[in-house]
């Protein structure tokens, strides 16, 4: 069975909600929709305070190439356009809407029927994806249309669909593959047409045999789509790691996957593409895993974008008493939230409640240079060296040691027997080194 070569760790899988069907979360009383929901430039609000909006109405328009549209996920009245705290803890511009009824834009096809016939051309598909505000749902929220619009002279060979879900706890993609496999396959075919590629691979780790089997069955009529079972290893869901695992190709440092002829999209993104192109439905909801060891009912919920995180936890049985951290995303790469009023955004793949005792970090001990971080680094870097360089502000040297190649998967920090905050310092170093490189470009 295939997997990537260098490094990797095996954290406990803890997929508590793997057997729970996707449920529809009831509409919240109000939503907070941040204007900037993808990488790249922030979008500009297209509505005003007091406006009545419908489900699916455009409320913010992407203004540059790397940016995306944002649509209203509910119907109701815009109460405010203001700076509201988002998952970073900082205040960023957002639209606040009081929910009134559930009135959808008429152009949206709300019927549950599968529409597998593809009529749109490549250009139309990409246009639609852009219009409907589809972004990468794996977590990085890179606008999808950017990945599909290939630069002149470049040609994609393979489309890779990321169904790895290597983060412990998270099961949203797993459930989507099981319950909406047909839609996902149609989405993949749409993406293939948009990219004009002949071959697509769906990479799935073999801890999800049901999903592998289900999609293999569905792919029988489409020989150009191949399901690739992968050996379980974190961080297989990393773009470069997935390409390496599936095709054996290594993306060169500092380059995009297109350099080796690959385009990677998430399973959830494929579903969103299907809905956008075939059903005319903008990206207004997504599947979120709500999980935690002490939580009553770990669940997979279909949630409207902008719903406060607290609503999801309430639905899954309420906040357990001994909760140390509420994390947006998985335990390896997720981010602790500072408030339960923070909204679900397009990049929220899961909400994880960590018990108090697990969330407390132990005091770091001395590094004994055991080199485990070096062994597990999937990018072949030396995390301890990078952390030391960052700690001492030696960013020139850190750049030479390829600090910018770090994918922030956290394997080093997970494996460190001394409990050192390696990734903390590397992130800081990446941040500062990035600024340094940009400033150099200006001079």
């Amino acid at each position: 069975m295939r997997t990537f070569k260098i490094g990797g760790v095996h954290p406990p899988e803890l997929k508590l909600s793997a057997d729970r069907e996707i449920e529809l979360l009831p509409l919240p009383a109000k939503v907070i929709i941040p204007l900037s929901q993808s990488l790249g430039a922030p979008s500009r609000a297209a509505i005003q305070k007091g406006d009545l909006v419908k489900v699916g109405q455009l409320i913010a328009k992407g203004e540059s190439f790397i940016s995306s549209n944002v649509h209203s996920s509910v119907s109701g009245k815009v109460t405010r356009i203001d700076d509201v705290m988002d998952s970073s803890g900082y205040r960023r511009p957002a639209v606040l809407i009081d929910v009134e009824g559930d009135e959808w834009e008429e152009s949206i096809d709300r019927s549950p029927d599968l529409k597998s016939e593809i009529t749109a051309s490549s250009e139309e598909i990409i246009r639609k994806i852009y219009d409907m505000g589809v972004v990468g749902l794996g977590g990085a929220t890179f606008p999808s249309h950017v990945k599909l619009r290939l630069p002149e002279g470049k040609k994609a060979e393979y489309l890779l669909i990321n169904g790895v879900e290597c983060e412990p706890y998270l099961t949203a993609d797993h459930r989507v593959m099981l319950e909406q496999g047909e839609e996902v396959i149609t989405g993949i075919r749409l993406l293939m047409r948009a990219l004009a590629v002949e071959k697509a691979f769906i990479g799935i780790e073999n801890n999800k045999p049901d999903a592998i089997h289900h999609l293999q069955q569905l792919c029988i009529p489409f020989p150009e789509i191949e399901v690739v079972p992968l050996k379980v290893k974190y961080p297989q869901g990393g773009e470069k790691q997935l390409i390496k695992a599936v095709t054996g190709r290594e993306t060169p440092s500092g380059k995009l996957p297109l350099e080796v002829g690959c385009v990677v999209q998430n399973v959830g993104t494929a579903l969103a593409v299907y809905e956008a192109v075939q059903k005319n439905k903008p990206l207004i909801d997504r599947v979120v895993t709500v999980t935690g060891k002490k939580l009553d009912r770990p669940s997979n919920l279909r949630v409207r974008i902008g719903t406060p995180v607290g609503n999801l936890i309430e639905y899954a049985g309420g906040l357990p008493e001994d909760t140390g951290k509420v994390i947006s995303g998985g335990p390896m790469m997720g981010k602790a939230l500072s408030s339960l009023d923070v909204p679900v955004v397009k990049g929220t793949s899961g909400i994880l409640l960590m018990p108090g005792i697990e969330s407390k970090r132990a005091a770091p001990l001395n590094c004994i240079r055991c080199g485990r971080c070096v062994t597990v680094c999937p990018m072949g870097l030396e995390p301890i060296l990078l952390a030391q360089l960052s700690e001492n502000f030696l960013f020139e040297k850190a750049e030479k040691e390829r600090i910018m190649d770090c994918i922030e998967c956290g394997s080093c920090q997970y494996t460190c027997p001394a409990g050192r905050p390696l990734l903390d310092y590397i992130r800081l170093g990446k941040n500062k080194t990035g600024i340094m490189i940009r400033n150099r470009g200006k001079k």
Binding site: D83, S88, G89, S338, R361, P421, D424, Y425, L428, N431
Partner: protein
């Protein structure tokens, strides 16, 4: 036995003489002719190599001083005007008198004023905590108290007070080199005029949020109400982005602004106590320069 001894002494002396001759010629060959005033000037400089002048160490500063014909742009904040005068006399130039400056921490978000809402247990570095989130109080511009400024200080002039969790600048030790100003990721520390008898008035807040959100995290935040701006008879106070700022060049230390501040964000340092009670008695104003 004797022979060995004599041989050893002779051979070692010979090696010594030959090396000395070689060294002499090498020294002649690679001699660098340097302006002798550079040595004279660098002798006068404090020699702390703090970089407060903006150059890499005292020697580099001395070279710069000797090169330039006008000293107005150059200043050694550590030595102050005394040292600069001596340097000017060596170089035969004039130098303006500059008022001494001191680092001022413009945040009063102590544990009482800005209570802890979250627990941060990441790396012990303000720069990282700042990149990660707002910090334990929730204030996006407040002091994180992890001591990047303390690490940057070469003069033992700043430390984190264990009671308030805020940095405290020592009036005696601070030489206004500006290292902490650069180290602070939130630009909280500013170099301000030391003032007569060390008396200073400044807005101890850099929060640019609107009044409501700012006040939610910290009871002594500047809420941008503008009362102090109206009160100031010298136009020394400006209000930009919901934040008042006192220009220390215009301020005459009349103390009219502090009592009108509804949150107590304006601090008066080292003034004799007034008899009037403060505007809001419920606020605990910590005096950050009591050392």
């Amino acid at each position: 036995m004797n022979e060995t001894l004599v041989f050893a002494v002779i051979s070692l002396s010979a090696i010594g003489v030959i090396s000395a001759v070689i060294l002499y010629f090498v020294a002649q060959k690679f001699k660098i002719i340097e302006d002798p005033r550079i040595d004279l000037v660098s002798e006068k400089l404090p020699g702390a190599n703090c970089g407060g002048c903006g150059l890499a160490g005292c020697r580099a500063f001395a070279e710069q001083l000797v090169k330039s014909s006008d000293l107005s742009a150059l200043n050694c904040p550590v030595g102050g005007s005394e040292v600069m005068k001596e340097v000017a006399s060596i170089l035969g130039l004039e130098v303006e008198e500059k008022e001494p400056l001191i680092a001022v921490v413009r945040c009063n978000g102590s544990r009482v004023n800005a209570p802890q809402k979250m627990i941060y247990d990441g790396a012990e570095s303000c720069a990282f905590a700042h990149a990660l989130g707002t910090g334990e109080s929730g204030c996006p511009t407040g002091c994180l108290g992890l001591g990047d400024c303390v690490v940057s200080c070469n003069f033992d002039a700043i430390y984190i007070s264990p009671e308030t969790g805020l940095p405290v600048v020592s009036d005696e030790n601070c030489v206004a080199c500006g290292a902490c100003v650069k180290a602070c990721p939130r630009n909280i520390i500013e170099l301000r005029k030391k003032g007569k008898k060390d008396r200073r008035i400044y807005v101890s807040c850099v929060n640019t949020e609107k009044g409501g959100p700012a006040r939610k995290n910290c009871q002594v935040a500047c809420i941008g109400c503008g009362k102090c701006v109206k009160e100031c008879p010298f136009d020394a106070i400006t209000l930009v982005n919901n934040l008042a700022y006192i220009d220390y060049d215009k301020c005459r230390l009349c103390r009219k602004c502090a009592p009108v501040c509804p949150t107590g964000a304006i601090l008066e340092i080292n003034f004799p106590l007034k008899k009037e009670k403060p505007a809001d008695p419920g606020i605990a104003v910590e005096n950050p320069t009591v050392v």
